[in-house]
């Protein structure tokens, strides 16, 4: 079990390094001297030059890369051009918010998807299963931001149950936190939950066709018992992959929902930084997101190793 994990970890490290090069290279393509953009409309050449040297934008690229990359490692990628604020803590603050959102949305999605997916699979030949399956298809088809807009219109504006926007830290006021987070979470989870439910359905259907499930029933288990005791672990294998991919999608997809609900998460910071041409910030955020996705993939692989004993011994 250790060796495959070590091997996967090596791949993770290599991927992080490679993608940091990609991200860095990508940002060099951006037109416009960040110093000029930062200084605004009619800044003097002298001012632009001073800022260029101040931020070391005229140094050779490898030096700039090394500076940034080693900064990332120490969680201190530098300061912003315009506001001169340290980037690291900002990203950390915003990431925390996004993680809350994504975490809750994922939890809700899973909570919806698993019973729903199992139900759809077990009852796939019955009317209720077919109806649910169709409903989940529609859930997949609705853009998350549209769901958000409509939910706001109904539950915030019309019914006044919850606020339409803003973010309250859970430590600050748990009740307000819950209220402010419920709609964004639902908007995100609605789509992802539907997608996940469909994968759960097909994973369960696949498992239901397996011989060992028939063996389990021949032992005297009812279909649901058999599914629970023997199917869940096996069905989890493909579902875990999808959940990993979804977490990645959510992490970035939260951008849109953060916009709709005016939540100061990492996605909002990314968009703001893009429009302010805070390249270093953009670069660092992109890197954080990419690393997050890579780490999620690594965790998924590690979970595989735990779920599927066939991988531990290198068989298969």
């Amino acid at each position: 079990m250790i060796l495959p994990l070590v091997r996967r970890f090596g791949v993770l490290v290599a991927s992080v390094v490679a993608s940091s090069l990609v991200v860095f290279a990508f940002m060099q393509v951006l037109p416009g001297n960040p110093a000029r953009v930062a200084l605004g409309l009619n800044a003097s050449e002298g001012a632009v030059e001073r800022m260029t040297t101040q931020f070391g934008l005229d140094r050779p690229l490898p030096v700039q890369y090394w500076e940034w990359a080693s900064g990332m490692l120490t969680l201190d990628p530098g300061i912003e051009y315009i506001s001169k604020a340290a980037i690291g803590p900002q990203i950390a603050d915003r990431l925390l918010i996004t993680l809350w959102l994504v975490g809750l949305a994922m939890a809700l999605a899973v909570a919806i998807a698993i019973p729903l997916g199992v139900w759809m699979a077990v009852r796939h030949r019955h009317a209720d299963g077919v109806v649910l399956t169709a409903a989940s298809q529609i859930g997949v088809a609705i853009p998350a931001f549209l769901a958000g807009i409509v939910l706001i219109s109904i539950f915030a504006v019309r019914l006044r149950w919850v606020p339409s926007d803003g973010w309250v830290a859970p430590a600050e006021d748990p009740v307000l936190f819950a209220k402010s987070v419920v709609l964004p979470t639902i908007s995100l989870a609605l789509v992802q939950g539907s997608v996940l439910a469909r994968y759960v359905r097909s994973a369960v259907l696949d498992v239901l066709r397996e011989d060992y499930l028939r063996t389990a029933r021949a032992k005297g288990l009812t279909p649901m018992q058999a599914l629970w005791r023997h199917g869940s672990r096996n069905a989890a294998i493909p579902v875990v992959t999808v959940m990993g991919l979804q977490l990645a999608t959510l992490l970035v997809g939260a951008v849109v929902i953060e916009r709709v609900f005016v939540i100061p998460g990492l996605g909002s910071l990314l968009l703001d930084s893009v429009s302010d041409r805070e390249l270093l910030t953009v670069q660092s955020i992109v890197m954080v997101l990419v690393v997050a996705v890579l780490v999620i993939n690594f965790i998924v692989d590690a979970l595989y190793l735990m779920i599927d004993p066939r991988l531990k011994t290198g068989a298969r």
């Binding site: 250790i2 060796l3 011994t313 290198g314």
Partner: protein
């Protein structure tokens, strides 16, 4: 039917027969597979799928290879048909080297040796029409005139007992036995000298098995082929082949003319194999499962394992 007497048997030295040049010759052929490492301390496990095989096959001979699952039969076939490279050893077909050659250099081998596989489902490309399947070796051999190819395909279809109009159909429109016929037709297309069959009837029902065995018998006879026939079923090999090689854990434990092998098996493993075959006659004669198992255990001398 002169097949039984025509060929010069067994290339054992000292047999006294004037030996024709062997059409196929294997010298100490080995193939190892490295499994992925499972631990940092122990070296990666090595599977010796073929472990020092020597063999000579005379033209026109029908050689059977038997052995249990995983004994290396398929690996050996892949080696001698140039689809895989041996870790060491030499393989010669008609005196020409097969090992260490690039696929470009092996063009001649494709026209000399052809294969028939076990699974009638997966050995034919489901998206190709029978016409294209059978013509594939011809295309590969560079026969470019479509008309001539078509003519040949029709002839081949006839010789394996399929109607002309099968030419435009897809594999899934045929039964298992018919698919094996198509496989055989494809193998015959480049007019090979050697036919290599890897468990060609193991996946077939008894009634169909008989049909395919008859077909193989007929084409080997009719086209004057050398046959290498792999099976785990001793009774099939016994029916088809003149000589049998018993394979176990990558090695030939015994090679002998069929009747000799059955009448007087030398190696314990061969004995065990023969003893384990359930036959209708023996069963009707009162051999129970317990008796069968007893015999196997006896031959194995206690070294039995699954």
């Amino acid at each position: 039917m002169p097949a039984c007497t025509r060929w010069a048997p067994i290339p054992h030295p000292g047999m006294g027969h004037a030996m024709t040049e062997p059409i196929l010759k294997l010298t100490d052929v080995r193939r190892e597979f490295r499994r992925p490492r499972t631990s940092l301390r122990t070296p990666p496990p090595v599977v010796r799928a073929v472990n020092g095989v020597n063999l000579e096959v005379a033209p026109g001979e029908r050689l059977g290879i038997v052995g249990e699952s995983g004994s290396g039969k398929s690996t050996l076939l892949r080696l001698l048909s140039g689809l895989d490279q041996p870790t060491s050893g030499q393989i010669e077909v008609q005196g020409r080297r097969v090992d260490g050659q690039s696929s470009r250099q092996l063009k001649w081998l494709r026209e000399t040796m052809q294969l028939v596989f076990q699974d009638p489902m997966s050995s034919l490309d489901p998206r190709m029409r029978v016409r294209d399947i059978i013509a594939e070796p011809l295309v590969a051999a560079g026969m470019s005139a479509a008309g001539k190819r078509e003519e040949r395909v029709v002839t081949l279809l006839q010789s394996v007992g399929l109607p002309k109009d099968a030419i435009d159909r897809y594999p899934h429109q045929f039964s298992g036995g018919q698919r094996q016929r198509i496989s055989v037709a494809r193998a015959l297309a480049p007019q090979p000298k050697i036919l290599v069959a890897d468990e060609p009837v193991s996946a077939l029902d008894v009634s169909v098995r008989a049909q395919v065995l008859n077909l193989i018998d007929n084409v080997v006879e009719g086209f004057d082929l050398t046959l290498i026939f792999v099976s785990h079923d001793l009774s099939v090999v016994r029916h088809v082949c003149d000589r049998v090689a018993v394979m176990r854990r990558g090695e030939f434990v015994e090679v002998a003319p069929t009747e000799e092998l059955f009448a007087d098996p030398q190696h314990a493993y061969t004995k065990q194999l023969i003893a384990a075959i359930p036959t209708l006659s023996a069963a009707l004669g009162g051999r129970t499962a317990a008796a069968l198992a007893d015999e196997v255990n006896q031959q194995a001398g206690g070294e039995n394992r699954d």
